[in-house]
Amino acid sequence: MRIDLDKATGRSLITFLADNARKRPGGVAMREKERGIWRELTWAQYCDEVTAFAAALEDLGAGPGKALMILGDNRLRLYAGWLSVAMLRGYAMPTYPGATLDELRHFAGEVPVMAVLAEDQEQVDKALDLRAGGARIDHIIYDDARGMTGYGAENLHSWDAMIKRGRARLAADPDLCARLHAMAGPDDPAVFLHSSGTTGKPKGIVLTHANVIGAAVASYRARVFGDDEDILAYLPMAWVGDTAVTVGAAVTFGWTVNIPERQETVMRDMREVAPTFYFSAPRFWDNMLTQIQVGMANSTRLKRFIYTLFMDHAVRVERHALNGRPPRLTDRAIRALGGWLVFTPLKDHFGLTRMRNAFSGGEALGEDTFLFFRALGVQLRQLYGQTEVSGFSAAQAPDQVKLHTVGHPLPGVSLRFSESGEILVRGEGIFHGYHANPQATLETLEEGWLQTGDAGYVEDDGQLVVLGRVSEVVHTAAGERYVPNYIENRLKFSPYIRDAAVVGAGRDQLAAMICIDFEATGHWAEVNAVPYASFADLSQRAEVATLLADAVARVNAALPAGLRIHRFVSLHKEFDPDDGEITRTRKLRRKVVEERYAPVITALHDGSAEVNVQAQVVYENGSTGVVERVLQIREV
């Protein structure tokens, strides 16, 4: 629905909800799959449900300063409850379904929890555990009644009972509805989220209606989304992406939200819904790519031939386009034919036919995935944001896409960089400070500028490049600033590179130590008749070195001149958690690696052509041994 963008931030989400119900009562607000069948709720019905629940919540004592804690996966009623408590100026506090009791206890200690809204019996049990553990939880309300018959806990209500109670109140008091709808203002809380808490306890982040609507309007102006989107609500409700899209934008612009049946059925539900907007971490797109490739590998020879013919061509055209070479007329013709024969049926199978705005965010996106979806005709774009800005602060426009950027800052968002290269952001979506944590607020907010904690820079065309966390930034001798992890991740996009360590702190140039992916490189060697005996042997083959040099050169092409990798070495063994070189989650332990491979690093920087290494290895039985090797150093 078209709205007045300039006046939007002076309103609350509730006024948009009521507007949608009044102006397009028959429009579909929510679709939820129940027992295999999609059931629709119109804006009028949805608004009624939200209002009735709010009336009952108020009766139970909800109001400003009190929270409704939401436990569960995406469910229609959990979203309705979210809006109901926002209507009453209270805090809607969604949580991750996997949140531990400790985390929930911490949340419950931040603000009084007047009620928990639980998806099902499992989540009710969690709430009861919290209560038994001493947390103050006045009421517990559950959505799915299955298995709840034997529960006799105090102040336990079913959703249906609450709606009945609310409807009775509304019927008895004809003015109540209008009063409820007018209660919340733009500066009242729309949601109570939490920072990820990788460092210390998660911090409470309250976003106001003005924040959330402001962020939605800015994203709309940047064409992150268009009118009348049909979206799939599958992101965790406690993640800001869900607040921004499924609640903020969907209510403001009156979209249709489709709720998948279960987490396991998301792919299938997506196929049925064919959403027009989709936003996910790169992992999701990678998975879909793998699924398509596996499906094709199991297909008939003819189909595989046709698929490969058109897909390889389309990927080639996209790669040229990415390098600034526009497609020729013949290319367009072949693509059109491929679209008819291959791409459209494929897209249909994965629910991508109506996709207008597809986004990846949160981490770097691999080139193969990026090119594949572009070739398929899905204009995959990247964006950047965080909880503290109520969603997104930068996004790529449809026509100006690069692989390593996250796009221009959104309209109304200003960017600045600190001395240390940290990205500072200002705009309407910026939060007003951490809940009851002035110290952390002071460290993060300065005169309206949010210190993102991310390092980055802006390219000549104005697109933002995010390098990684500021805490990871190091400098070369020339003072060139870089984040090793950023370059390493890009190296790892090559299927032949399992791990990499970029070294060059305090040196003139950057160099890299690379661990080959034994499986992929070994397979490549077999196909190309390159003999090898072991990992160490394969890693030192000249043919493999050429392969790696290509991969490094490709990464170099997207890096500023001072940050290119000039020399690399292929290591004789993988980084191994048992050797302490990487963590169990495969994160590099830089200190250990730099210490252990000090001679290699020296050789990489002093111009030697090869280096003799001794590496200590821990065998499976616990004993230790030493492996000796001569490693060739390659120039790029």
Binding site: R35, G36, G147, E261, E264
Partner: protein, 260 residues
Amino acid sequence: MTESSPILEVQGVERRFGGLVAVTGVDMVIHPGEIFGLVGPNGSGKTTLTNAITGFYPPNKGSIRLTGKSITGLRPHRIAAHGVARTFQNLALFNGLTVLDNVMLGRHIHMRVGVLRTAFYWWLARPDEVANRAICEEIIEFLQLEGIRHELVDGLPIGLKKRVELARALAAEPRLLILDEPMAGMNQEEKEYMARFILDARAERGVSVLLIEHHMDVITGICDRMLALNYGEMIGTGIPREVIKDPRVIEAYIGQGHAH
């Protein structure tokens, strides 16, 4: 539990195959809402007894009554219509059909079919099918099969296939559910799931269950009463914890040398 109106009464049932006496002199009573365990070594007659109840092998002697009505010697589909559903030891699913279609097949005793209905599908058969689908979906939700609803049964792991079979049996909305080794070949986790589903089926769907099982921990864990067979004869019946202490049961199961 009312002693007066049992779901199933088996009295003095005997079944022979030529000269071989597979089952003889078996008495068994299952009350409404009961989970009744049937155990015995291989070849002791458990499946034959089941087949006698469901009508595959009508008994040569004795009587079988379902909620007071005699079903002795009735044809299997007639017995099914009386509210008896079963699963099979060696899975009897349609591998080429989806999970949903397999479950829908469980509704066959409730569906009215005919040439006329098929000819005028949209008007005569479809409403019936929609109503039946709703019940199947309820069971799919109950057994948490949503994620594989549209998958072919062929590609599923054994644990899920067993669950699909249970779903198909439940789709018939039986009063008596006969489960023939529902946990054979399952790992501990799958076993626990299945046990939970059986208990839930009783609590939420009000079925009585005859459970044939080798896993003694399952029998003692979820069965109210049990019966042990050996060489076609009853060697013990009653509360599981007591029956499994019976020396005759121990001997049949573990062998004499290990009894103490």
